[in-house]
Structure formats: C-alpha cells, structure tokens
Symmetry: C2
Subunit: 211 residues, 2 copies
C-alpha cells in the first residue's frame, strides 16, 4: 500500500483531540502553505483562512458551535471564510496579482479578465458566493490530505452558527462569511471513536466506468 | 521544503496533456482509492465518480465542454456527480453500510440516523444538493493533492454543459447530476503554460491570525 493510501486510511474524524499535544510552528506552517497553494477556479482564491489560537475566542466559538469539544481542544482551529462580494473589484485585484507575479501589464491580461468577469456576470449574488464556497471545499480537501500524509489530524466541521462566528471573529466588516472550519491537532489516545472501522462504499458502489 | 509543498508547487493547471502518456492501472487505482477514502459530512458520500476512458464518449463530452482539449487528450477523465435525491432513503442506505461494516444493528444507530435526517429536514431540495455538491469538492481537493504527491497532473474543470453531460453519460436515470470534472494524466512537455509562475496571494493577504 502506498504512503498516501496508508495516510488516508489512518485519518478519521477525530472526536477527542489531545489538548496537550500542539503542532510545532513548522508543522503548522506547512499546512498553511498547502492551503495557500490550493487551486481554485480561475485561480481567484476567493477565501481567507482564519487561524484561531486565542483560547478565550475559542471558548466563544465553541458556544456558537454546539459545544463541540474539538473547537477548544485541538491544537489549532482554522475557519474558512468566503469573500461576500465576488465582484469586478475582486477580479481586478486578482488580475493585478497575476500581472505582478508574471511581469506582465494588466492590459496584457484583458482577455482573461473579461472572460472571468463575463462568467461571473451570468450568476446571481447567491450563486457567486456558493460557487466561491465550493472553492473553499477544494482547499479543505487539500488540508485534509496534507494533514493525513503528515500524520496530523484535521477534523472538518460544518455544524456551527456562521452568523455568530462572523460576529465573534469580526468577519462581517471585512466582507467575509465563515462557511466551514477544521480542528487541527493530534488525536487523544482515548478517543472513543479511534477504533471504529472506516465506512466507505466499495469501488463497485461509487465508481461508474465508461469504457 | 517538504515533499508535500514541493508537490503542491509542482502542480499547475495543465492546459496541454501528453496524449501518449497514460497512467498505469496501479497509478490510476491509487487515485481512485484516495477518492473513495475522501471524507464527507456525516460520512454520507453523496457522490459517484464516473471514469470515462471511452474515446468516442470523450469526443461527445468535449463538444459539451467548450471543446477543451484536455477532455480528450488527458489519460483519464473523472466526472464528479452528486446524488439528486438527498433523502431518507440515502441516509438509510448509508446507515445500513455503517451497521454492516461495524457489526452493529441498524437499531444501534438510530440516534445517529435521526440526527442526520433531522439536519437534512431543515434544508430545501436545492440546499441539500448544494450541500452535497460541496462534499464533492472535498473529494476533488483530495484527488488534486493525491495526484500532486504522485507527480500526476489533475486538471479540474467546471466549464461544461452539465445537462448535456448528464444526457451523454446517462446520469439522469441514475438519479445523478454532474457537477465538476477532472482531467487526469501527464503534462505535455510543450504545454505553453508550463513555465508560468504560480500566482498565489501571500500568507499576509489570505491568513488572519486571531492570537
């Protein structure tokens, strides 16, 4: 079995994290770097990653997250937030970043810029935010895999009051909305779920081959 | 630099695949296995992965995909489809799978089953499909990362006529809807985009630390 598959089998949805076991800066920075390198549609990166280590804030978030213990117990908490305004200004900012990185002028990228703006113009505000939110989930998938190959537990959570999270973290006034989060750390040796057999449909059940 | 970060920097959005360079069965099966192991909310796996290797079907899909060359040129094409009916039957099927895998009775899992059904009951049909679609994007992120660490190119594509894809692949009558796809293969040595510098916002631009 390859290291990757071994890693994906090793990972599970940790319920109880080891409070005393923290990621080193170098371990955490590698995960952050993987997140930053995640691909997104057009390369737009319509996201911010909120890293919450402050223990008092974690307690507040926990109250807005159905009291889930991992919100306070995991080494790190990353909240994935989407840009609320998927507008021309966001595209212009991205195009400026492309031009700057690749030593081009913004004019050189007019065709690409117009193509992105044209595509966004076909969507409603809600559809744009939902489309951008899907990109956040790519980054979440990257983080989960990056954690697994490094034997670091990543526990995604959707069950929380996003409006309260936005208030607590001040995301509203930054034009952001929280969508999903991940507890990052190390499993406790007495997590009651550690021994549960992984449940996955078989290849025959979820793969359709068109040969 | 770690292998993982090196891999994430190595990957890019390949425009031109090498038509003659195919994944071996063992390479492809590893990626499929990673997809199957992808986590999803509640573990529900509301997805099917359609692996299209038939060249005639690939040509038809290409016509419904704005003629993108990678649809026919990449070694493999994987279409990610979501279950259209995120209903109690889908939950019951999953709970039966949990019971079977873990040697439990369905009755033992009543609390878990009712919790999932209760949560789904708060969503409209559209919201349920969108929520399930987000889970597909976790799997897409896993596939991208799995490809990268194996030096296999994974090119996600959202730009296609999903209704036509559903017709061509017969997904309609299976209760499925195509949502996103990925070309899987190896970059051509003369891909004009191979030398483009990767564009990503800096850590300062996308990470907010709450210490």
């Amino acid at each position: 079995m390859s290291n990757l598959i071994e890693a994906m089998k090793w990972r599970y949805s940790v319920n109880k994290f080891d409070k005393s076991n923290k990621l080193t800066d170098s371990q955490f920075n590698e995960l952050l770097e993987a997140l930053i390198l995640s691909p997104s549609s057009y390369g737009l990166q319509p996201w911010k990653f909120i890293v919450v280590t402050n223990p008092e804030v974690r307690v507040q978030l926990q109250a807005a997250g159905y009291g889930q213990p991992k919100i306070t117990e995991a080494s790190h908490l990353i909240v994935f937030a989407v840009e609320k305004n998927i507008d021309n200004a966001l595209v212009d900012k991205y195009i400026a970043s492309v031009a700057n990185t690749r030593g081009l002028s913004v004019g050189d990228l007019k065709g690409y810029k117009d193509m992105i703006k044209g595509s966004l113009a076909t969507k409603t505000e809600d559809q744009k935010v939902e489309w951008a939110t899907r990109q956040l989930y790519i980054a979440l998938g990257v983080l989960i895999t990056a954690g697994a190959v490094n034997n670091i537990d990543v526990g995604p959570m959707e069950g929380f009051d996003t409006k309260k999270f936005d208030e607590i973290l001040g995301l509203d006034k930054l034009g952001l909305e929280s969508k999903v989060m991940a507890a990052v750390g190390f499993r406790s040796s007495d997590d009651p779920h550690a021994a549960d057999k992984k449940v996955r449909y078989s290849k025959e059940e979820v793969v359709i081959e068109v040969k």
